[in-house]
Symmetry: C2
């Protein structure tokens, strides 16, 4: 597959964009990365994802595929000779999909709301909720990993990608709020996993630096505080 046949519309700070990037790296698929500019949407993005107008969009052989987890499953199915991303057992697949949905529908929205909390009490309540979610995920890790290093077992898989894509922002939030959310006491499995994940060959080149994300969060906050002209 020629590189130009696979394009990904995205932006470096987006956890959702990290997902297809990691999946493509796992499958050793070369692709062209089309970086969107903060505050505007390219014509290609608007045409490729008219329903949501959101990144990421994978364009494969001219056809657009949208929604990060849908793209990851697509990559796994199309480049099936490469290392498997979804577990092979149907029950393990169901567990991975269940926790990925939990992350996107419950856990991450709570974490994202921390920055917009209306007062200190609300901020603390949200941080506590994120911590409670991590305890659930620690339990999921022990069940899914079966004593191995990743949710996917020996190799990183679907749930590693779904959760690991949020790790950069989790670290940025820890830094900005002066808290430790993944630690040796409550989530020892996740602590070890997070280090293995972020230094994995398929991940490390697309894993954002905490300092850069903190800077980006400040730019975002400034943009939101400035009324449009």
């Amino acid at each position: 597959m020629a590189k130009s046949d696979v394009k990904l519309i995205g932006a470096w700070p987006s956890p959702f964009v990290m997902r297809p990037r990691i999946a493509l790296n796992i499958k050793s698929v070369e692709y062209e990365f089309l970086e969107e500019t903060l505050g505007s949407k390219s014509q290609l993005l608007l045409e490729s994802n008219p329903v949501h107008k959101k990144i990421p969009v994978l364009i494969h052989g001219g056809k657009p595929i949208c929604e990060s987890l849908v793209i990851v499953e697509y990559i796994d199915e199309v480049w099936s000779p490469g290392p498997a991303i979804l577990p092979s057992d149907p029950y393990d697949r169901a567990l991975a999909r269940f926790w990925a949905a939990y992350l996107d529908e419950k856990w991450f929205p709570t974490m994202r709301n921390i920055a917009a909390a209306k007062d200190e009490e609300a901020r603390k309540a949200l941080i506590d909720q994120v911590g409670e979610g991590l305890v659930l995920l620690e339990d999921a890790f022990s069940k899914c990993s079966k004593g191995k290093g990743f949710f996917g077992g020996d190799q990183i898989g679907y749930l590693d990608i779904a959760f690991g894509s949020f790790l950069g922002w989790l670290r940025a939030i820890e830094k900005m709020n002066g808290v430790k959310l993944i630690d040796e006491t409550k989530t020892p499995g996740l602590l070890k996993w997070a280090n293995s994940f972020s230094s994995h060959p398929a991940v490390k080149d697309v894993f954002p630096e905490t300092g850069k994300l903190v800077e980006f969060a400040k730019v975002l906050a400034k943009l939101k505080a400035t009324p449009p002209k």
Copy 2:
């Protein structure tokens, strides 16, 4: 597989519960239906889905599987000798998953909010939004069905189940609000599809009557209006 090995915790008016029921019917899998009582949650439900405490839950060989679309994919994978539910082509699968996510995350939440609209203007705006979503789905239907009768082509599949499970409530909302949302002018494809879907052998016995849903909606509204003792 003995019937007692497959159990489904659910309730008849829930669109999400309809999904695994239809999928099990397509695969000709017998199952025990464990009906939850309105206003309370069984011990089995709380133990089987401790994260969300929500129906449906499929219990297969003693193991719980939660989240309606995750269950449908599980059923498709476990009883794979039966008729396929997901399309075989990866791009078609991605399209089906994309639209199913759109239904659950955007379209249905809008429809569900109609009953709780604070005034007439808000109610009308929501009804219009639901109608706009149906126009998008009409377009998706023409692309996915490729001239055949179902989103899945000749046979009902994943997206038919994901969308069709909401049809009973859509009809109840049309009746309660005196509007037609699926009609010959704007959504002729969906109009024909809706009739084929609701009378399909795998669907008709679990498809709720509009009148019963309207009655159920009244009971729900009454429950919400009555402060707990």
